[in-house]
Assembly symmetry: C2
């Protein structure tokens, strides 16, 4: 049983394998969601397909409300799709780096015990088990914390299920919620917002960073990649927290409606963290000021970290773009950060990914505009949200016809599988990395 599978795994190029796997998952999920047992109200085929695609790509854009349209069984199908979609990508990305001989911290120490190339399938299982363990620990802890609010609110059964569902959705940066207003009703509840934010930040920073922190426990020992990810994530959080706080403070439809400064600061923090792939919202996305909306689009495009459940071009990609541009103005011949140089080949990868990404968003916007009525600003927002697998919406996705839904589903799919595929293409063209003195930036 395992041998033909192993042979298949070995023969297909990894990116095609990943795309195929995701496609199979989407179709399987569609089938399950079409079962009468899954539907609380009649759900059409295209709606089930869109929901399945959105869950597998951990995007969270919806055309039907998951909490009221699906039964507990249907909701469980969605949760499993999210878990497989999120962890599948994380596992695949980590495995890819290991196969290429690139250090990824903790898991490497365990996996490198075996010879590379011979035990590929066994390594995959080991790595998957390890990643699953991290996920289970995080999700169980998150579920317990969320139960503190949800159980008193909804009773044991519904409360526990809600807590589990939202913990899974948060760790995998899926953004699916069982509440029809996402987290707006809990918008002043730190015991809901903070565990969820912690889960999606941990899930979105990347396995490489988590592994290194676990293994090295000292800033100076961290790799360039982890240092860039941690400082970049911190800087993005702080700057966008301040900007969104300032821009929304007096907006009566968002922060302005809240009474205390503490509530506003909490909601502003959550709103600044969620666009980088999580996609939950504690404020009404369509009610944000125009300037905040532009900022949110920028954050959604950047996304989280490589080898994580997050999407977007990734924080490291954005940082290398900025560092490279800065180096040019300073007329430096080499790029460096934290005392490590960044090679020209890294810059070229980053450029290729950024060009493709901007081109893809622009093309998708053009195609949606050509075929659909709608506010152009909202359509661009939905396109960027789908590309970054974020799931924040100003409402345009729900109004799309079937063709529009298929286009958005394709963008979600490309946004999820694309950067890693590109990362694979670019990684394999480089020379082997073992013993390299230069820092590496991962793309996927």
């Amino acid at each position: 049983m395992a041998r033909p599978l192993q042979r298949l795994v070995g023969r297909l190029p990894p990116p095609s394998l990943l795309a195929l796997l995701y496609l199979v998952l989407v179709l399987l999920g569609t089938g399950l969601l079409m079962l009468p047992a899954a539907q609380a109200v009649p759900v059409r085929l295209n709606e089930a397909f869109f929901t399945s695609a959105s869950a597998v790509t951990v995007t969270g854009l919806i055309v039907v409300d998951p909490g009221t349209s699906f039964t507990i069984f249907g909701q469980a199908v969605i949760a499993v799709l999210i878990q497989l979609g999120g962890l599948g990508l994380m596992t695949f990305a980590a495995l890819l780096l290991v196969t290429l001989g690139i250090s990824i911290g903790m898991p490497q120490r365990i996996i490198m015990g075996e010879e590379l190339g011979t035990g590929g399938f066994r390594n995959l299982l080991r790595l998957a088990r390890l990643i699953l363990m991290v996920a289970v620990v995080a999700e169980v802890a998150g579920t317990a914390l969320l139960m503190l609010v949800f159980v008193p609110e909804m009773g044991w059964a519904t409360g526990t299920w809600s807590a589990l569902f939202h913990a899974v959705s948060a760790f995998n940066n899926a953004g699916f919620s069982l509440f029809d207003d996402s987290l707006v009703r809990h918008g002043s509840e730190p015991l809901v917002l903070l565990p969820i934010a912690a889960l999606f930040i941990i899930g979105g920073i990347g396995f490489v960073v988590l592994g290194e922190i676990w293994q090295k426990r000292a800033w100076s020992k961290l790799s360039l990649h982890s240092k860039l990810m941690l400082t970049g994530t911190g800087a993005l959080l702080l700057v966008s927290w301040a900007l969104i706080g300032a821009l929304e403070w007096g907006n009566p439809a968002t922060l302005g409606a809240m009474e205390g400064s503490g509530d506003r600061l909490l909601a502003a923090f959550f709103q600044s963290a969620t666009p980088r792939t999580a996609g939950f919202n504690a404020l009404d996305t369509a009610a944000l000021t125009d300037a905040s909306t532009v900022l949110v689009m920028g954050l959604m495009f950047v996304g989280g970290g490589p080898t994580s459940t997050a999407g977007g071009i990734k924080v490291t990609t954005a940082l290398v773009l900025i560092l490279a541009t800065r180096a040019f103005f300073l007329r430096h011949d080499t790029l460096s950060a934290f005392g490590r140089s960044i090679g020209l080949d890294e810059v070229m990868k980053v450029m290729a990914l950024a060009t493709i990404s901007v081109g893809m968003v622009f093309l998708a916007w053009f195609v949606l505009a050509a075929g659909h009525e709608g506010e152009m600003f909202d359509l661009l927002f939905e396109v960027v949200s789908a590309f970054g697998t974020v799931g924040l919406s100003r409402g345009a996705t729900a109004d799309l016809d079937i063709i529009g839904q298929v286009i958005v589903a394709c963008i979600m799919f490309l946004g999820r599988v694309g950067p890693l595929t590109l990362g694979f293409f670019l990684a394999t063209r480089s020379s082997p990395r073992i013993g390299y003195p230069r820092g590496q930036i991962y793309l996927g």
Copy 2:
């Protein structure tokens, strides 16, 4: 008299000199447009400033209608500002390349007779005279052709002045028109649209290409730069002609209002050519379909050729981005086109320029959104139009308050002076080019 000036020219870094020159021109123009002799109706200081900045940067965005707000003297001031702004940049860009020892075709043959570095100021005069000659020939021919329509329509005096003004505005890709509907009233008149399109295409393809065509007269002898510019311009014209034709054919507010297919094809061609910096419009820009508008934004961002009167990131920049991305997917270690390789340093230049440009447009959009009410799609359109010094408008610029006008004026200024400044920064960091076997891509 010439000696202190020469010393000043020699001492300032060229980009600062250029920026200073433009700033002085803008202020001088503002002063002249504030003279009672220049104003047909009362014009405010901020309106005169915006008009002057728009003319010097050859953008063509307006807050007051130049045809009715200014006297013939005022209009002449605008025409002179356009001429100085357009030719000044062309001259500066060409001189920069010559100084750096980079071949620019015809003018090089003449200028290289003198020792480089010693006769800088005399070279500048010579080159300026040469460029002025090309401009005068093109503008006189354009004026004569436009007179065929304008003189019967408006009489000798007004017709001749209108023909001259529009020829100057077209060759310099300024897009200023004396008619309050730009060229919409002549939207079916090939004798107006074709000479104007010819002028702005010639003015926007770049002095390097014009010089090489003049000097070499054979495709095979052209440099990589000229081949890329000519094929890129041709491809962009054809593709956008077809797309705009298809998207607008049935739009009753644009092509759909025209009777014959010939008229529609002509207007579609003009509409596909004008966004790459010219900025005249023969169709109502705000009435274009959403998809066409997205396409127009893309074309405005790309712009024309280096060492020309055009703006944008330039056709060559866009092509190198595409070629580099393609090379990565094909796992080529080197970039090439037309049998010439393109160096990594060219790719890095292009990346820096593209990153800065996207960042600038995004930031300007954010700032305008933070301070101003208005349709976000329209604001983005105006920002891209200002960045590319195009001047097409969906009406948002006219509605801006003074702060908004100053922001847009700054974007026009940065859009005009920025890429060349960047080109200078990047060009001077490379090693000398004489005798290099590799093809060169110019940025400015």
